[in-house]
Point group: none
Chain length 405, copies 2
């Protein structure tokens, strides 16, 4: 089944926003066996929206639209659609009362401009939105079914997942897609390992998607058995790097292992500034194993709270192998946990020297019966250094836990 | 001048890649006073490309294309354009020799598949590409000039900057654009404040861009004086919410004020799990004022390191106004700084109760001569709660520093 997409918003055309909705939608549509075959990005004015609706190719069976359902003057998608689908709109008093209540429960008065979001079509359905105030719209004409969603990603994703994808899925042939997530290996090295197993008959399609935190492999096939056979061949070759599937994050995987092994952990971060701790706590129920962390951005905290030896700090400097190790030990003792994980480095852009350049990072792990410090040279960019430090630290912890170090 | 854009590539439609080229192009085109008015994303097959060329609206004066100029079998843009513009292609021997030399200097033999990149049109020009092997194409017909570029971002940007933007710029009038960033106010409430000042003659264009962390106002005008007058009218009305311009982040703004006032700060985070600390340390040189933080994910740390009273914890629970305040005090004292900033709450998805639902967050600020605790009810989503907590805490700090609380 061919699917069309119209993303509405001047901010997409003038580049104020990158259209991440379109790529999320493209992936989710392919996952249910259909394809986005036609995509226009248009300004949020009636003329542009109407003109794009007139250009929808005749083979399109479902048309998705995002954007323009908010409460302000430039949110005109709904009124354009009422007109295009020749439907009157009526005021939904019960929804308006519900919105008033929702705002009240947060101690706020609802602005009157939200009133346009309580309109519903006479000819057509509304798509529920428990996350925000703008409900979606679902119209049909003789060629296609149209689904209009807000541009807010979380609200769009809710509607896609709970309302739209189930409808599209019913009519189509499944495409089996799996994302294999790796870290700690470069794209070209991963390619060298895998390419002897890439078939030429296109039964399996594979895309390499490099990120700063690792390389994702997007593997798809119409044939689930063939796909599973392919996995059983390649996964053993990359098991040191392979940590999860699809949208699984490294912190979620590590969290599961910590729960399985009934182990607790704490962090002592310098150059990553709290990002490791932030990532641990993105996982629901992480308080079961993550007991807390110290962001030791000053030497005084390294000595006072983490117990790093003051003479050592003076002798080796804060960015050094022994200080990293004492920080990991200090985190383990201060929080009375099984494992302490630490990092210290030069995040940049300034603060580097010839012997300790920007990007130099030490990561240490300390448990009762095992301790190790690792040294890395990441990049010149501050945020990328923080990100790579956090990913590498989590992977060091993973390899320690699964005894694959 | 109206500009059209065709981005070519199946990976954009199926979501394997997010179209970051489109937003970069949109920004750079607007900066020279023109606008992307029409944008299609199409598959890399001849039929789709030809069909999109047939649909270019007549008011488009320049048409930009990206993608499909590589050396492999699915790179067919050039051959489609030769056909569409009725131009023969001829082999450019001198460029081919140059490519051979370039590869040789890297110790490589050039694959024969690169030979198609040495073709040039009889009717049309090539756009130089010193970064990669694929040169761009420049055609004219009676309606528009077409520029075809590779999809590789660095090569596209080179051609835009050095060849295409100078051509488009010559014909157009400068557009003045400013992004006004706000937090702590909803889109609809901001709209109610500003809409009486919105002129109807379109001298100033304004777009509301809501995020979980606040609403950005993108304001543009051809008339810089008019734009400045507009700012002087509206900024005093929203100064409690307005924190920065363009790409400035709240943590950068707060950091500047802390440096100006020569004040230091530390954090004690529970529900935000280190995100506030992570954001403080995204700012270069933040170690000048940010001394560190405690992520107190267990009660034991709240008592042992932050000095929260154990009886209080038992009596009021960790998520309470007095505990938030003791955490802020504890952070201030443990790190010996001017300001302690803390939060405690129910991040979700579990852990909520009727009296303390998911989304309930207390944020406290403590300095020598001022202390205050704030209570919020955010959302049901864990990561969004963390994000909103961090943004709100930073804004509470900002308002305290500028004495606008």
């Amino acid at each position: 089944m061919k699917v069309g997409l119209i993303t509405i918003g001047g901010e997409l055309l003038n580049g104020t926003r990158t259209d991440t909705n379109a790529s999320w939608i493209g992936q989710s549509i392919e996952a249910v066996g259909a394809n986005i075959d036609w995509h226009m990005t248009v300004n949020d004015n009636a003329e542009s929206i109407l003109s794009s609706l007139d250009q929808v190719p005749k083979e399109i069976g479902y048309l998705l639209c995002t954007g323009g359902l908010g409460p302000t003057h430039d949110d005109i998608t709904a009124s354009v659609l009422y007109k295009y689908f020749d439907s009157k709109s009526v005021f939904d008093e019960s929804y308006w009362q519900l919105l008033i209540e929702r705002f009240k429960s947060r101690g706020k008065d609802i602005p009157l401009s939200n009133k346009n979001q309580a309109m519903i079509p006479e000819e057509g359905k509304v798509i529920p939105n428990p996350i925000g105030t703008a409900r979606g719209l679902h119209f049909k004409n003789k060629n296609y079914e149209l689904f209009s969603m807000p541009g807010v990603p979380s609200e769009m994703k809710y509607m896609m997942t709970n309302y739209i994808l189930p409808i599209i899925d019913n009519h189509s042939e499944k495409n089996h897609i799996k994302m294999i997530r790796t870290t700690g290996i470069m794209e070209s090295s991963l390619y060298e390992i895998i390419h002897p197993y890439l078939n030429t008959d296109e039964k399996v399609k594979i895309a390499f998607l490099p990120r700063f935190t690792g390389v994702d492999l997007r593997i798809s096939s119409k044939d689930i058995n063939y796909l599973n056979k392919f996995f059983s061949k390649i996964l053993p070759l990359i098991d040191k790097y392979y940590y999860g599937n699809n949208n699984e994050e490294l912190e979620d995987i590590v969290g599961k292992i910590l729960i399985d092994q009934n182990k607790s952990i704490s962090t002592a971060e310098s150059c990553s500034g709290g990002l490791i701790s932030d990532r641990f706590t993105n996982t629901p129920n992480s308080s079961n194993y993550f007991k807390g962390g110290i962001v030791a951005y000053s030497n005084k905290i390294k000595t006072d709270i983490l117990g790093v030896n003051e003479d050592l700090l003076t002798k080796t400097g804060a960015v050094s192998e022994p200080v990293a190790l004492e920080m990991a030990r200090g985190a383990r003792k201060a929080f009375n946990v099984d494992i302490g994980l630490s990092c210290t480095g030069i995040a940049g852009p300034s603060g580097g020297s010839k012997s300790k350049p920007v990007g130099l990072v030490y990561i240490a792990l300390s448990s009762v019966d095992y301790e190790k410090v690792y040294c890395f040279n990441f990049t010149k960019d501050r945020k990328t250094n923080k990100l790579m430090t956090s990913q590498t630290a989590l992977n060091i912890l993973r390899l320690y836990l699964i005894k694959n170090d």
